[in-house]
Symmetry: none
């Protein structure tokens, strides 16, 4: 059982996420981070927003740093809520959807995927396609 | 068709924005960034807020990084909205008005203008004057 | 003639650089930046140094920011030489080998490759393999 | 007697520095900072190094922060010398030539000019042309 996302897995994730982006006619930045939250793989599709490079990476990093989808932090980070302004920590977090952890068969988080380039629903769908491909490959 | 804003175009933009600022009796910081979001030209009018130097530059950079007026991000970045706290990404974004992309005749964004020094409506008017001068020069 | 490195070109570069790394039995981090110095593509081979993620990216960025191999800055950046401590600018430059510009058929720099994970000679060889593949693809 | 560089003076400086750059067939980034070390005016000539944007600004800022040409700090910042590694302070200093203070008729430093884009001798010549134009205008 892998304890870290591999380069081969990251490629599988990337291909699935890019395929999903093309299906949905989106231009995406997609990042995979490893078990330590460090960048493992990154792709920017031609014409994707320049400002989404950093956001895709930060979404993936946020998802690994807290072992939950980036968007799950959002409600707790609102004004008056317990984690208000958590985004300024860790050199910048993103607390809206588009970052999803990668979990191995033992339930250990071994990395995360982040996508940015469209609405948060689309970003989440593209990240999810990558996670699903990771899960499917692991199950084989 | 230019694929990047030129120094001559940046001067045209600056002159038009400063003229508009004087018409409206404003003291402005005005920045032009290039196709990569890098600073191309900058002017601070005498007496303009020191704190608006960075804001003018960040507005222009925000407009190029997302290929839309900086203020268009504002509603989506409010508490409870999908892009809440996006401002912590990219070493700091500004999501209120005053940054506007520069688009060439092919519909490509080739840079952006940012203005800061007064109300956001005034800032936007000054940035808009620069963009209009860019468009007029391109049309000639 | 492309004025910016494309995703397809970045993939060609990555494949060639990873192939070269495997030939030389190296574990590498490899980055491609675009015409604006922004991250276009990144891969970390399994087991490559974590500390080389940032170095690979900074090498590529340095090569684009000054339109020369990162190592060409090294001699000028030594103690007593004209560009001593230039590395503190631009949020961090790397002035040793491993970053090489990508130049199109018009002689325009459209991006750069950076590699880090071994000796600077090996890093340079891996980056060079990526640049050669870019040049070969462009020539076809 | 001005206690701060004005926008009109900054324009005079910019024009003289750009003229000198063209005489010497150079592509330059040129920055003027005010009495507080804050950006007053900036121009990047078409094709000038992207990496020199930050260096031009840091040279000007360094010259004002210490009221001396940036290059005067260089010998003191060498290994074994009293100011070794001073460059890491102030969010980054540049201690090689190309930044020169602007001094009014009372001997007060009211700002500085920074140029970057070629050898340090050429950078210094371009900055010097700007300072000379400032001095000449003040003498009239």
């Amino acid at each position: 059982m892998t304890a870290d996302v591999t380069m081969a897995q990251a490629e599988t994730i990337m291909q699935a996420s890019v395929r999903k982006a093309r299906e949905l006619d989106l231009l995406m930045n997609i990042a995979v981070v490893d078990v330590g939250g460090h960048l493992k793989s990154f792709v920017r599709m031609d014409g994707a927003w320049l400002g989404s490079i950093d956001i895709a990476i930060k979404k993936a990093r946020t998802a690994r740093l807290f072992d939950m989808p980036s968007g799950d932090l959002g409600p707790m980070a609102q004004p008056g809520q317990p984690l208000y302004q958590i985004e300024v920590s860790n050199d910048g977090l993103i607390t809206f959807p588009g970052g999803i952890p990668l979990t191995n068969g033992n339930g250990q988080v071994v990395g995360a995927v982040g996508a940015s380039g469209s609405t948060v629903d689309n970003d989440q769908a593209v990240a999810h396609a990558g996670v699903s491909a990771f899960d499917s490959a692991a199950a084989r």
